[in-house]
Every structure is written in structure tokens, then in C-alpha cells.
């Protein structure tokens, strides 16, 4: 039985649903030391802005139960430097490159989108309106449906490339920001960015992260992210890319069943750079075991519990 791992995210065809999440694979060149990027569905670059940024002062990272908090503050070399220094090397990588970007105003967002539009090796743009770690830009745009609409519309005008909007989960009702982005012309929604979080070192009685708050990622947030993907995919017609705590093939399948067309692996890369390949292999086996011929049929296929009287879960072999 032939298995088709290919998925479509709007107009963009991916050879398989497994991508690398922004900020967790640098500019992807570091990943090439571990494996061939073209084995994956694609990868998202570290969030770029015009002129670049030095990010936040350290400490920028700490561990929490089943997760980690980061406050990198979107350090990046800038769009210009990226296009000059990194892009030429990445052209050969032969995988789908998605450029994650941000600005500090609607105009900056649009200008960044326009600047990236020019680079042929960029397959899609992922608009980050959800970073909890920068004072202006980032999450400020992502929590208000009106602003989401405005900034998405501005970027939509600025680029003909597929435009993905990366949502923040830090809202009362994520379907409202999702619909705003859809209405304004987004081609897909990346669900989700990190959750605002905090940790305190009790011996020092000091915040563990320099900026006090940071963004929580990793397995701990998976059940929150699965719900976000489920709600958003029911609320909009455009495809959803699932992100949040994916570290095993079963996690990836879970996000697809919840409604994701493709998935991104972030934090799991830190402890296991080969996680994306292991996830892909596991998904392949899962499909074979379940007689799935088109992996895309998993999207949104979760059903209700068949026997409400039965209290027991099935076992994952």
C-alpha cells in the first residue's frame, strides 16, 4: 500500500507534514549538520525584522516541569543580513523555507513583508504577532482582533507569497483573532506561539528570567495547544499549522487529528535534534498500521468517545 505523506497548506505543497518551528532551528544551517533539511516538510526561520535586534539581556531561559520559559526577545541578524549572508547557502537546501518576521508597527510589518517578498527561496511568510518577549510588536498585535486584521491586511497587500499568521494563545477566545486574520487574507494560521509564564528562584528570591516573564513551550503546553488548534480549525476555512510541545510521532498525529494540516517541532529539537526525523518515521508506521493511505486524511479526524460508559483509554503500542 502506497503512503502519501504530502500535505497542502493553502497553495503550498509540503512533501510531508513535519516542519521546524521558528526560533528553535536558528537559520536552519545549524540543523544541516544533523540531517538533510530536504527530508522535512519545511522549516521556519528565526523571527526576522528590519535592522535586526540584539534581543533581551540574559538569563533568557529556564526549565519548568515538562517545559521551558524563554525570553530571547527576538534577537536576529536582520532581514538584510539574512538575505545577504544566510539565504544564498539555504537556497541549496531544497526544502520549503518559511520566513518568520515581525515589526514594531503596522508599517514595519508591511515593509518587512515586502522586503522578504523579493527573495525567491522563501516559500511563505509567517507573521509573528504573538511573541510575548518584546515590548512593542509581537503579542501586542496578536491579542486584539482589530489590530490582527489591520496588520494582516497590510502584509497581505505587501506580498503575493503565502502569508501565515502565527497566533498567540494568550487570548480569551482564539477563534476571534483567527477569524480576523482569515478575513484579512491570511493563507494559513500557525497555532500557537508560547504562553506567557514566570518562574522564581526561591533560593535567590529572584525571577529566573531577566525580563521576569517569558514564553512557555514544550510538552507541558501540548494539551492547551491541541485545544487551540481544534477550536481554530473549526472556526476558519484556511488551514492550520499545529505547534506546541510536539516531541513524538503520537503528538504530531494528535495535532493532525485535532485539525492541523501540518505541524512544527520546536522545543523538542533542543534535547533531540533528530526528533523531526523520528516523528516522521513514527507517523509513517502509524499510517501503515491504521491503513491510512493519505496522511492528509488525518486532519480533523478525531471523533467522540464511542462508548461513554467506558472509562479506559486505549494503549499506544
Amino acid at each position: 500500500m502506497a503512503l502519501n505523506l504530502g500535505v497542502r497548506v493553502g497553495n503550498l505543497q509540503l512533501k510531508n507534514p513535519v516542519m521546524l518551528a521558528s526560533g528553535c532551528c536558528g537559520y536552519a544551517l545549524e540543523m544541516e549538520e544533523f540531517f538533510d533539511l530536504s527530508l522535512l516538510g519545511g522549516y521556519c526561520l528565526k523571527g526576522l525584522c528590519e535592522g535586526g535586534s540584539e534581543g533581551n539581556p540574559p538569563p533568557r531561559l529556564c526549565e519548568t516541569p515538562g517545559g521551558l520559559i524563554n525570553s530571547i526577545g527576538l534577537q536576529n541578524i536582520g532581514i538584510e543580513a539574512f538575505l545577504k549572508e544566510k539565504a544564498p547557502k539555504l537556497r541549496k537546501a531544497g526544502s520549503v523555507m518559511v520566513a518568520n518576521f515581525y515589526g514594531h508597527s503596522v508599517d514595519e510589518y508591511a515593509a518587512a513583508a515586502e522586503r522578504l517578498q523579493a527573495e525567491p527561496c522563501i516559500a511563505a511568510l509567517e507573521m509573528n504577532i504573538s511573541c510575548p518577549n518584546v515590548k512593542t510588536g509581537g503579542i501586542a498585535f496578536g491579542t486584539d482582533p482589530k489590530l490582527v486584521h489591520e496588520v494582516t491586511a497590510a502584509c497581505r497587500k505587501a506580498t503575493a507569497k503565502p502569508l501565515w499568521v502565527k497566533l498567540t494563545p494568550n487570548v480569551t477566545d482564539i477563534t476571534e483573532t483567527a477569524k480576523a486574520a482569515e478575513d484579512a487574507g491570511a493563507d494559513a494560521l500557525s497555532c500557537i506561539n508560547t504562553y506567557p509564564a514566570m518562574a522564581i528562584d526561591v533560593e535567590r528570591r529572584a525571577f529566573k528570567i531577566n525580563t521576569r516573564s517569558g514564553g512557555l513551550s514544550g510538552p507541558a503546553i501540548k494539551p492547551l495547544a491541541v485545544r487551540a488548534v481544534y477550536l481554530v480549525s473549526k472556526a476558519v476555512k484556511i488551514p492550520v499549522v499545529g505547534i506546541g510541545g510536539i516531541s513524538t510521532w503520537a503528538d504530531a498525529v494528535e495535532f493532525m487529528l485535532a485539525g492541523a494540516s501540518a505541524v512544527q517541532v520546536g522545543t523538542a529539537l533542543f534535547s533531540n535534534p533528530l526528533a523531526p526525523l523520528e516523528i516522521l518515521e513514527g507517523m509513517r508506521e502509524y499510517c501503515a498500521r491504521h491503513g491510512v493511505e493519505e496522511i492528509s486524511t488525518l486532519t480533523g479526524a478525531a471523533k467522540d468517545f464511542e462508548r461513554p460508559s467506558c472509562n479506559l483509554p486505549s494503549r499506544t503500542k
Partner: protein, 258 residues
């Protein structure tokens, strides 16, 4: 670098210290480089732990580490038994520069705390190349002096300092460095607590090149997460550099310390 499972073949423990020998595919390394090590420890801690390379027997596909049990992750590494699997990503980072200083004068290696292992690895490489080595090791007390037998084997007699005077000079190891620098200033390589590194940098300033190995809480260890940065000044320009990638070894003059 690579990321692969390795097998523990030996664990020699002494108090909180464990010398681990891992077997697997070994990619040749430089002294000062490290691995991210992660046991089969489930969800917590989430991340691997950066541990310096202590030595390498490429022919036997073996690489050695010395781990001090201090927290959750290092305690699990300390407790590993032969046969256990360790996921190892490495070798990582830049390592100490093995040339570029005056080959006539001996180099001074300064090691404190669990900064000793990479300096022993460096000493073994330098002694192979015939360089003169002055090895200064500091610890709180006699029991915390590390790898003295390995140093002896390679013919290096370390100058010792302990806080309580239970072995060698009573005082901090940088007092030994100050003495050596007055006597014959050579390139200085240091790994240990940040206070030691800062004081070494100050002593060397204007007198001798000084390379220090920094620590940081590391997310990935291989350059993608940007959690481990420090400010580095080069040619008048200050910018963030990754301790895991451009470091952990930096020219002390470039750090925002002095």
C-alpha cells in the same frame, strides 16, 4: 557534530564526582569542546546538560567526562550504570585555540571546581605537542581536587590551592596565577567559576593573552535557541555571541568584564 545514543561502559565514582566513559561513534574533538548529555530521564529535566570532554580514545570509540552531581540532571548522570544509554550531542563549541601564542614560554592552565576536566584534556593535547605547561588547580578542600592521577600520568605536576589549606597553597588559585605571571608571563587558559575567570582576566590584562571558558544555562547547545549569549566586543563592535557556538572559550579581553 552528531546526535546519537552512546553506551556507558564505565562509571568511576568518588564522592559527588563520576568519571563516565561512553562508547559509540566518536567524532574527533578539541579541548574545551563539550557534549550535551541526556540520560533516558523522561520529562524532567527537559533538556540535556552541557558537559566538557575530559578525554577521547577515538580508536576505542570512547569519550570520557567528569560530572559533579549538583542538581537533578547531573545526579542522574552520576547514578548511571554500565550498559545505560546516554544521548550525546557533540562535540560542540569552539574549544581552546591550540596555537597563536608565543611557543617559547610555557602556557598556564588555570582550573577551578568542575572546570578541571577540559583543562586536563587541554594539558594532554599540549603535552603531546611538547609545550611547556604550568597547571594551577584550585578547590575548596583536598577532596575536591580532581584528576591528579591523570595529570601525573602525563607528567604534569599541578600547583595546588585549597580554600582551607588542606592541600597546596592556602587561598584561591588566582593567587598562584599572579605569582606565575610575575615569574614568566605566558598565555593563560582558564575554566572554572566566573569569579575566578574574572580575576584571571584582570591579572592578565596587558600582560598575557587570556582565554576563558564560560558557562551558561543552555537550551540546545548547538546554536539555534540563542539562550546562552554573552556580549563580546571585537574591533570596537559589541554584539551577542553564543557561548555554545562561538564559545564556550572566549578571549577575556573581548568580554564586558574588565
Amino acid at each position: 557534530m552528531a546526535s546519537k545514543p552512546m553506551h556507558l561502559v564505565q562509571n568511576a565514582r568518588r564522592g559527588p564526582y563520576a568519571t563516565l566513559t561512553l562508547r559509540g561513534e566518536v567524532i574527533p574533538s578539541h579541548p574545551g569542546q563539550f557534549y550535551m548529555l541526556r540520560g533516558d530521564w523522561g520529562l524532567s529535566p527537559l533538556l540535556g546538560r552541557p558537559i566538557s570532554i575530559l578525554g577521547e580514545e577515538a580508536a576505542r570509540s570512547e569519550v570520557r567526562f567528569l560530572v559533579k552531581a549538583v542538581g537533578e540532571g547531573s545526579r542522574i548522570l552520576h547514578a548511571l550504570e554500565p550498559g545505560d544509554v546516554v544521548h550525546a550531542t557533540g562535540p560542540l563549541g569552539s574549544g581552546f585555540p591550540l596555537s597563536g601564542w608565543d611557543p617559547q614560554s610555557p602556557v598556564i592552565l588555570l582550573a577551578g571546581g568542575v572546570g578541571v576536566p577540559p583543562m586536563v584534556y587541554l594539558a594532554s593535547r599540549l603535552s603531546e605537542s611538547g609545550a611547556g605547561i604550568i597547571f594551577c588547580q584550585g578547590a575548596r578542600t583536598k577532596e575536591d581536587l580532581l584528576l591528579l592521577d591523570e595529570l601525573e600520568e602525563m607528567g604534569v605536576t599541578p600547583h595546588l590551592a585549597t580554600d582551607d589549606g588542606s592541600a597546596g597553597h592556602k587561598g584561591v588559585v588566582t593567587e598562584l596565577l599572579a605569582r606565575e605571571l610575575e615569574y614568566q608571563p605566558g598565555a593563560v587558559f582558564a575554566c572554572g567559576p566566573e569569579a575566578m575567570l574574572r580575576s584571571a582576566a584582570r591579572l592578565c590584562k596587558g600582560k598575557a593573552p587570556c582565554y576563558v571558558s564560560l558557562e551558561a544555562a543552555m537550551g540546545c547547545g548547538y546554536g539555534v535557541c540563542l539562550s546562552c549569549v554573552t556580549q563580546v566586543t571585537k574591533e570596537g563592535r559589541t554584539a551577542n555571541q553564543r557561548i555554545c557556538k562561538e564559545g564556550p572559550v572566549f578571549d577575556a579581553e573581548a568580554l564586558p568584564w574588565l
